[in-house]
Amino acid sequence: MNNGSKPLIHLEDVTKVFLTDEVETHALSGIHLDIKDGEYVSIAGPSGCGKSTLLSILGLLDTPSGGSYSLKGSEVANLSFPERARIRNREIGFIFQSFNLIGDLTVYENVELPLTYRGMSSGDRKSAVTQALERVGMGHRAKHLPSQLSGGQQQRVAVARALAGKPAILLADEPTGNLDSRNGEAVMELLRELHAAGATICMVTHDPRFAQNADRTVHLFDGRVVEDNRIAA
């Protein structure tokens, strides 16, 4: 996945403006951000600083109001909705704060879901899902419903779902926010392992302890990058 010196993600002067009741709110202003392949970046900042907006743009859930965004060297800022969905499905894995497993689907089906959207064959899906579940230690719970799992287990399944399609980058939005410290620590350990195995991760977190796990911490304030620290190994 390494494209030489080219970053995996390159944001140039990205802005995001929301119009509410004729009031302009600048959620992001002049964001410049590069994320290299294999990097583990944490994004930190106070509430309302634009972390989630930035993650939405990185995850192609939202489009920037200005600037450019290239993913793996291709401009993706102004793609159509279906095209963004296709890239999201193949290149991006999401991990949410509240797990967001679909309650009516089993663990296996939850992990399989993005692969189904990709149009992957049943055999390939089975192999990828099994592999992802084994990787997060949830292979034995494949037939369970999310409601039958603990919070920590549910987040592991969510990580497996994000991993299964072998995306270019994992985007994690406060992945430990809904977990107790023990389960939170376990999930962070899992992310560390994934990173060690070569995964690119971009994580939004409030918790400075978990931010320390990353190679880099990007601090946002009022929609601007105010600090970009590389953490010593």
Partner: protein, 813 residues
């Protein structure tokens, strides 16, 4: 309780859209139920001016074992003397009389009755008295009873009417009593004369004449079925005792109410109960919709209810609170329903389904009385209970309080709650499916009956009825001459195409004349074989006038006079029965009647089958037409006039033409043929219109319900949809997800509905015509229709799901 009510009011006011939708749905459903019940109340439940109506029955003579006909005095005596089921019985014959001396000569409907006919019915006169046994003896006094309405119309309700005289058919009768308001049995009688017959001394032919109707009162505790069995056995005895008159005849005992509705086969009863079932289904669909709305609201109110429990409210207390809200809603819906019913009832009355003409003041007047009001109240409360029970139990039943209190106003709606919503919508669709299939079958039946080939052309036909008084037209030649002169004059009127006369206007609600006959050279293989045909005595030009199609030979013409070769024109059905596969022209048949001899008649023409009998509309019965001039008879003379334009424009001219020949001759029932025919399919039209309306309403409610559930589901699944989009779902995946869910519910409802309809339609068999209870086309078409409606109901929610902004959707997490 007052607090509960106050809070319920406040909530309803707060959620105005929900309240209005729920009240409108309830009002619609309660209104429909109340309106249909008002019809049932008028037709089946309301008291009538007779005593203990549930014990009153009518033995109906069945010619050919199925064809309802008048009874004879032979039967009356046999049932009276040999039966053990009745405490009393009496016979009456419908007649009409020329009334003179009270302004314009008038033909009035009346009857000759046994004194016991009125005592059996338990009629209480409004004024004077009814007939005594002494007045009912042969050569008894000339006395008459008049109806309340006749008293009002002709005597202005004068108290001293008793003792005054009435001139009927040229004879004066003393008025001895005025019968109670609305009473007009038999038929639609306005005057009653005592029968004054010594039955035992009457000639057999007269005793055997099927001119009477018999009313009987069951002994206390004797069921109708027992009387029916007993009389059937007596009828079989009579077949053996009087084979020349009674062979092939049966009897069926029916209740007076059934008789009044003209409902020998119980079609009106079945149609009414099918409709009641239909509106019941509609109520269930409506309740399911309201329950769904309440469930959805209950899910949204989980936090409030959990808080109440946390503050110490018991589960029972919360159930009461929620139930109060449902009942309040139902009562408001009930009031709306009642207002709607006040508007619907007159429309329903205009579609009155009954064929009978007696006691019309009671049976044709639908109204909202105390019983209907009570029904509306019960239905409203029932709707409240049905729609409120589940949401109340579900809403008050939360055990884990803290998670619900913590959830704030986030959308929750767990799988179990969604399951209930899904189940209710599946039930709604299943009920709508059943309703639609039943409605479809009934509507198709009506359409098919409407398109039955009548065998004549009813457009531009005017009909007029006359009964020539025996006192003036005792000689048959005089009647023929009168008939010829009237027809000559009418044919010469401007705008008249042709004119003719007949003894029965096709499909009229009068006694239809029939004849037994035999075929030359054919000995019946079975002694019980009785050949019967509709017997019509017609003028030349009658067949041409009403537009009957000649298949072979010729019509009756001017040369078919008394003294010439007796001829007959027969229908295809008669030809098929008499000479299957042969040419009937030139063959002969003759009328058969005990004690009388009739000449052989030569078949000179064969016409296409004609619907002559109202009671045999659904089948083809043999008909023959014989020349008026060749058959001496005292039957009524009915004129049929074909016009170039609107037939009613000739009414005055036709009356004038008759008056010019005989100024004293009353003319009655002047109407177009189409007006006459409009009464033929009243029951079927009533059922078809209402079932179509109910089925359409059911479909509308179910589709709104499905739309509501799907919209609610999309709302509840916003977060899930956001996740799916984040995982790479394309818009079509989201669309398919919602459509798939909706269609799964629709198809499950359709499948259950198909099974339910498969069973329910069996109950409709006797109401159907020209198609089976499991008509594949209807089942397929309705399945397709519901499938399409399901697709449409799911489309909008699916489209809105497809357009969800993933970022906003994920904010719901």
């Amino acid at each position: 309780m007052i607090n509960d009510l106050r809070f319920a009011f406040r909530l309803l006011l707060k959620n105005r859209t929900y309240t209005l939708v729920a009240i409108a749905a309830l009002a619609f459903s309660v209104g429909a139920n109340t309106a249909i019940f008002s019809a049932i109340n008028s037709l089946l439940l309301r008291p009538l001016p007779v005593e203990e109506i549930d014990r009153l029955v009518y033995p109906i003579a069945l010619r050919e074992g199925f064809d309802p006909f008048g009874s004879s005095l032979i039967e009356y005596v046999a049932y009276r003397d040999r039966g053990h089921s009745f405490v009393s019985s009496g016979a009456a014959a419908q007649r009409s009389f020329n009334l003179t001396g009270h302004g314009e000569p008038e033909r009035v409907r009346g009857a000759t009755v046994m004194a016991t006919y009125l005592t059996t019915l338990g009629v209480k006169p409004a004024l004077g008295r009814i007939f005594t046994a002494d007045e009912d003896r042969p050569s008894g006094p000339a006395v008459v009873l008049i109806s309340y309405e006749f008293w009002q119309r002709h005597f202005g309700g004068k108290a001293g009417v008793i003792g005054e005289t009435l001139n009927l058919e040229g004879r004066n009768y003393n008025i001895v009593g005025v019968l109670p308001p609305g009473f007009d049995l038999p038929g639609a009688a306005e005057v009653w004369l005592p029968l004054q017959a010594n039955i035992d001394s009457l000639p057999l032919v007269e005793r055997a004449a099927s001119n009477y109707e018999i009313a009987a009162r069951l002994k206390p505790g004797v069921p109708l079925k027992q009387a029916d069995t007993e009389l059937k056995a007596i009828a079989r005895q009579l077949e053996g005792e009087y084979p020349e008159f009674r062979r092939g005849w049966g009897v069926k005992v029916i209740s007076l109410r059934q008789q009044l509705l003209g409902d020998l086969e119980g079609r009106v009863h079945k149609a009414l109960f099918a409709l009641m079932g239909g509106v019941g289904f509609l109520l269930l669909i409506c309740c399911a919709n309201i329950a769904n709305l309440q469930l959805a609201r209950g899910i949204a109110r989980e936090r409030e209810l959990a808080l109440r429990r946390a503050l110490g409210a018991s589960r029972g207390r919360l159930v009461r609170q929620l139930f109060t809200e449902s009942i309040l809603l139902a009562v408001l819906g009930g009031i709306g329903g009642l207002l709607l019913a006040y508007w619907l009832v007159p429309a329903l009355a205009a579609l009155n389904p009954i064929q009978g003409i007696s006691l019309a003041a009671f049976l044709r007047h639908f109204e909202i009385d105390g019983r209907v009001l009570s029904f509306a109240l019960v239905v409203s409360l029932l709707a409240g209970v049905i729609s409120g029970l589940l949401p109340a139990l579900k809403g008050a039943g939360a055990d884990e309080l803290m998670p619900r209190i913590k959830q704030g106003d986030q959308r929750s709606g767990g799988a179990a709650s969604r399951q209930w919503l899904n189940s209710l919508i599946v039930a709604e669709i299943a009920i709508a499916m059943t309703l639609l299939i039943c409605g479809g079958l009934i509507v198709q039946t009506f359409q098919r009956l409407q398109h039955v080939d009548l065998g004549f052309h009813p457009k531009n036909l005017l009909t007029l009825k006359m009964t020539l008084p025996e006192s003036k037209y005792s000689e048959y030649q005089k009647r023929v001459a009168f008939n010829d002169q009237v027809l000559d004059r009418i044919k010469n009127l401007s705008g008249v195409v042709s004119a003719g006369s007949t003894t029965n206007i096709p499909l009229e609600r009068e006694i239809a004349y029939d004849a037994r006959f035999e075929i030359e050279g054919r000995v019946p293989s079975n002694p019980n074989e009785v050949l019967i045909t509709s017997h019509r005595i017609v003028s030349p030009d009658y067949l041409k006038t009403i537009g009957i199609t000649l298949m072979s030979g010729r019509f009756i013409d001017e040369n078919d006079r008394a003294g010439s070769l007796p001829v007959v024109v027969i229908s295809e059905e008669l030809a098929r029965q008499a000479w299957p596969g042969q040419d009937p022209l030139g063959k002969r048949l003759k009328r058969v009647r005990a004690g009388q001899t009739f000449p052989w008649m030569t078949v000179v023409g064969v016409v296409k089958n004609v619907k002559e009998d109202l009671f045999n509309y659904r089948i083809n019965r043999p008909v023959w037409y014989v020349p008026y001039a060749q058959v001496e008879n005292h039957f009524p003379v009915n004129l049929v006039v074909r016009t170039k334009n609107d037939p009613t424009s000739l009414t005055a001219a036709a009356r004038e033409a008759i008056r010019a020949i005989d100024p004293d001759q009353p003319v009655s029932s002047v109407m177009t043929m189409n007006t006459n025919l409009s009464g033929v399919l009243v029951t079927e039209r009533f059922s078809a219109v209402l079932m179509a309306a109910l089925a359409g309403s059911g479909l509308l409610l179910a589709s709104i319900g499905l739309y509501g559930v799907m919209a609610y589901s999309v709302n509840q699944r916003t977060s899930e949809i956001g996740v799916r989009v984040a995982l790479g779902a394309q818009p079509r995946h989201v669309f398919q997800l919602i459509m798939g869910h909706g269609m799964k519910l629709t198809l499950l409802g359709v499948a259950i509905g198909l099974l339910a309809a498969w069973s329910a339609t069996r109950l409709l068999v006797s109401l159907l015509f020209g198609l089976g209870a499991r008509d594949a086309t209807t089942f397929s078409a309705i399945t397709l229709l519901l499938g399409i409606v399901g697709l449409l109901a799911c489309y909008l929610p699916a489209r809105s799901a497809m357009r969800l902004n993933p970022v906003e959707a994920l904010r719901y997490e």
